[in-house]
Amino acid sequence: MNLLASWLGNVPDFAIPYALAALGLILTERSGVLALHAEGLMLVGALFGIGAQLALGNAGLALLAAMGAAALVSLLFAVMVIWLRINQVIAGLTLVFFCQGLTGLLGTLWGWTNQPVSGLPALALWPLSDLPLVGRLFQQNLLVYLTPLIFFAVIAWLERTTPGLRLRAVGENPQAADAAGLSVAGYRLLAILAGAALVGLAGGYIAVLSTKLWIAEMTGGRGWIAVALVIFARWSPWRALAGALLFGCIEALIPQLAAAGVRLSQYFILMAPYAVTLGVMIWVALAGRDRLSQPGALGEAYVREERR
């Protein structure tokens, strides 16, 4: 019983980064830009979140810094895929490697490694927080409560407003959008920057609010899992949130299993998120619907001079 309650209480810490990163990636990919760079941007968000927290001592500002830093680095990605028309797979992978190198270097040079920070205090939502079993779900930091609002805002913008419609049009058929007078490059830039800010926030969550310190490569493949989540969710934000919760539940089990004294090598337990991701990818492929729902122009550079 106690184990169950503490397991539930830990779910948001694992689920929220997945949810925010997947939301950011969906925003970017709906504009037709294949976003494989999540792992790198999360690292940038994590490092600069910790750096800002150490320098300014304010977790809110630290999260803003995480968003800003990730958006800034994603400008490089935007230049590569929008204007220089580099293959989006190569650009995304290179950006991940670039960010891994950059954060590994800066984290050590600036002495931000292994410096604990305070994070955000838990806010108890009384009376929900006094409920048995699920009470700990309502003793979370502010960002956990804000995440559903962020989802509402982004989804409303994407699906209920004209700019959101235009962004999706650019992702489905850039030729038609261009002919209709929309700026393909402009909308894609917007989508990349806004998406990167959300992915950076996810990285900031992991470092500033969850582990509360910076270690090189600390995201451990969560960015890639977020990419898989987007495929799993078929580019729908609500399904991504559900998928993130599922992954959060599974990952929150890991420390619980250890505490419950399961006699299995910890490394097998640590494999679980990756194995589950693989399983989910296979399940999606067997269901065979992922190709239908992906944005029409995903992964294609838009080149006006090459009319098709």
Partner: protein, 375 residues
């Protein structure tokens, strides 16, 4: 041809005032082709830019500017001992580079090079640990086990892609993490050297390690070069290589004219996995002499980078791999002498790839000032 006639006419028709600099309109045009000296010049400039940026970052990170050339060129190539170290380092890097080339030729994004390296090293270590086969055959058996280990670990994402259309980038990356955790399980658990407290396997016996061909030159280096030539033969001269070019150009047409598309992709990607496994064997049996917990780190990215920079040509990959090995050795020196983390090596590689990838834009496009107002 029409220009001498039309230009004066246009002048008469629209006497256009000289535009200020920033309101001029430019259009991008796609070049049909560019003479190769220009291509080489653009590529060279991009490389210079990448190296310049890297040098600037190194200086900012605390390496004295005057020492850069010394650390990177003199200290790695012009000193017999460091040249040995560089060659020694080059062998596994060449092998992962070749693995990258093969996979990309089959249009398979094999990001699982590190996982395949791990399984190669695991295979070789298992042969040593369980003393399979007589002493004389032990090393060849370890080599075969390494090839098989890498091959099998590449088989999973390959089958998932061919059968189900699962994205191989995610699948092979997830398998990397799984392999890495399994490696940790072994070196901290059942395969740990009982003699001390560190997470590694027992040392290989002397006949289980790659011998030196000449004093200071490990057998690994000629082995890697031999594999490079074989890979070049495979993609450039063999029948499979011809099929591969068909498949790369257009899989559907290739299938229609009778090329065994699946078999070609299967063989090439499995070869890629096997070579990555071989790289794991070379690190374990050549450099470390045992299974260690993080021997594979940095190789996966380098393999992809080398294949990209060498445009998937195995012989060019060997050359690029040698340069990357120089960077590895220099990176370790910087770590020792200036406390600069090894991540610097990855940053430099990424910067160079970004610059070279960007240079392609200038090879394929040109900027032209638009004539008239209707651009």
């Amino acid at each position: 041809m029409l220009e001498p006639l039309s230009a004066p006419l246009a002048e008469v028709a629209s006497p256009r005032p000289r535009q200020p600099l920033f309101s001029r309109r430019y259009t991008l045009e796609i070049r049909q082709q560019l003479a190769w000296p220009w291509q080489a010049l653009i590529l060279g400039l991009a490389l210079l830019l990448g190296l310049g940026l890297s040098a600037a970052i190194l200086v900012l990170a605390g390496v004295p500017a005057g020492e850069l050339l010394n650390e990177f060129v003199v200290a790695t190539l012009f000193d017999a001992q460091s040249l040995q170290a560089t060659l020694f380092q080059a062998a596994p890097v060449i092998l992962v580079g070749l693995a990258g080339c093969l996979a990309f030729r089959a249009r398979f994004w094999n990001l699982g090079l590190e996982g395949q390296m791990i399984w190669g090293a695991l295979g070789a270590t298992a042969v040593s640990l369980f003393e399979i086969g007589p002493e004389a055959l032990r090393l060849p058996l370890m080599l075969v086990a390494a090839l098989l280990g890498g091959l099998l670990w590449a088989l999973a994402p390959l089958l998932l892609k061919l059968r189900l259309g699962v994205n191989e980038i995610i699948a092979s990356l997830m398998l990397n993490y799984i392999a890495a955790n399994f490696l940790l399980h072994l070196v901290f658990g059942p395969w740990k050297d009982p003699r001390d407290a560190f997470p590694y396997s027992p040392l290989f016996r002397s006949f289980e390690r790659l011998p030196e061909l000449l004093p200071g030159l490990s057998l690994a280096v000629p082995l890697a070069l031999l594999v490079a030539v074989l890979a070049w033969w495979f993609v450039a001269l063999s029948r499979a290589g011809l099929y591969l070019r068909f498949v790369d150009a257009n899989p559907r047409v290739a299938g229609a004219v009778g090329v065994p598309v699946r078999a070609t992709i299967l063989a090439t990607v499995l070869a890629s996995g096997a070579l990555a496994g071989l790289a794991g064997f070379v690190v374990a049996a050549g450099q470390e002499g045992r299974l260690t917990q993080s021997f594979y780190q940095g190789y996966g990215f380098s393999g992809i980078l080398i294949a990209f920079l060498a445009r998937n040509n195995p012989l060019a990959a060997a050359v690029v791999a040698f340069l990357v090995a120089t960077l590895f050795v220099a990176g370790r020196n910087l770590q020792v002498f200036y406390q600069i983390p090894f991540a610097m090596v990855q940053l430099i590689q990424a910067l160079i790839v970004i610059c070279v990838a960007s240079s392609d834009f200038f090879i394929r496009h040109r900027l032209r000032r638009s004539q008239g107002g209707a651009a």
